[in-house]
């Protein structure tokens, strides 16, 4: 029962266990809010990470992409209401708001990060910050 001797260490372990249980396998405890909208696919290209999400019918003006250190937040909303005075036969397209934060396993180069919304797909290129890259040190 050594774990309770140090309450802070115990808390930290508990926090880690909770985070691990909620995390996905792929990025190894690095994405938060799994299951939230929008679903994302994560790719690697060289040292960069590419986040891809399907966001059809979303106005670029209402799409909010924020990057802070190693967190990416994607928020926005869309409305799919039919014009008034029409009879609705089928309604499958969702409307509403979304707000999702993802964590990548490195610090992002904020100046080099790019977001493109094309044909209803959001492509987020997240290069690793130069300061965060491993450096080889010459051995004398």
């Amino acid at each position: 029962m050594t774990s309770f001797l140090d309450p802070f260490a115990a808390l930290q372990r508990l926090q880690q266990a909770v985070e691990e249980s909620m995390s996905s396998r792929g990025l190894g405890g690095s994405t938060a809010g799994r299951g939230a909208h929008p679903p994302v696919n994560v790719f690697q290209r060289g040292g960069d990470i590419l986040l891809v999400a399907e966001l059809p019918g979303i106005d670029k003006q209402t799409l909010d992409v924020q990057i802070h250190r190693n967190h990416v937040r994607i928020a926005g909303s869309r409305s799919t209401a039919a014009p008034e005075g029409t009879s609705v036969h089928r309604r499958e397209r969702q409307s509403g708001a979304f707000d999702r934060t993802l964590t990548v396993p490195f610090a992002i180069d904020l100046d080099a990060a790019r977001a493109e919304h094309k044909d209803g797909i959001l492509w987020l290129t997240l290069p690793r910050a130069e300061a965060d890259k491993p450096r080889t040190i010459e051995v004398f």
Binding site: R25, L27, H37, V42, E54, P83
Partner: protein, 131 residues
């Protein structure tokens, strides 16, 4: 404007009315259909489909929409973590009202297709003046 949180729902695979000859999965796009006095309007989510890869056909009251994805955008990328599948889209609808084929308009923007299918004049409701 609603601010209900959007939920994630799994993409449904489409049930093709014919055998597939292209590899890969095909998904059924989420669709809204509403009717005005003059036309039937079909709105479809087709993320990743541009004008060049879209085909809309109307044959014997069967409306078929096919949207292709450009997989070349994914070349050279190694997947790290995936939450949704990527594939072409296709869906067929049986239309109940007669459509004026020449008046059909299709517009795709931002991954959303809007199809306006004007009803043929004899199908439109007529107002009868009561004397």
């Amino acid at each position: 404007m609603t601010d209900e949180p959007m939920k994630v729902h799994e993409k449904r695979e489409s049930s093709p009315g014919r055998e597939q000859t292209t590899p890969g999965k095909t998904y059924s796009p989420d669709t809204d259909i509403y009717e005005t006095e003059e036309a039937l309007v079909v709105v479809m989510d087709l993320p990743g489909v541009d004008r060049g890869r879209l085909s809309v056909s109307l044959e014997r009251d069967q409306l078929r929409v096919e949207g292709g994805i450009d997989f070349s955008a994914y070349e050279g990328l190694s997947p790290v973590y995936t939450e949704y599948n990527v594939g072409h889209f296709s869906r067929t609808f049986a239309l109940s009202s007669k459509i004026d084929r020449d008046g059909i308009t299709a517009r795709i923007a931002g991954g959303v297709l809007t199809l306006t299918l004007p009803k043929s004049p004899e199908q439109q409701p007529r107002r009868i003046r009561v004397t």
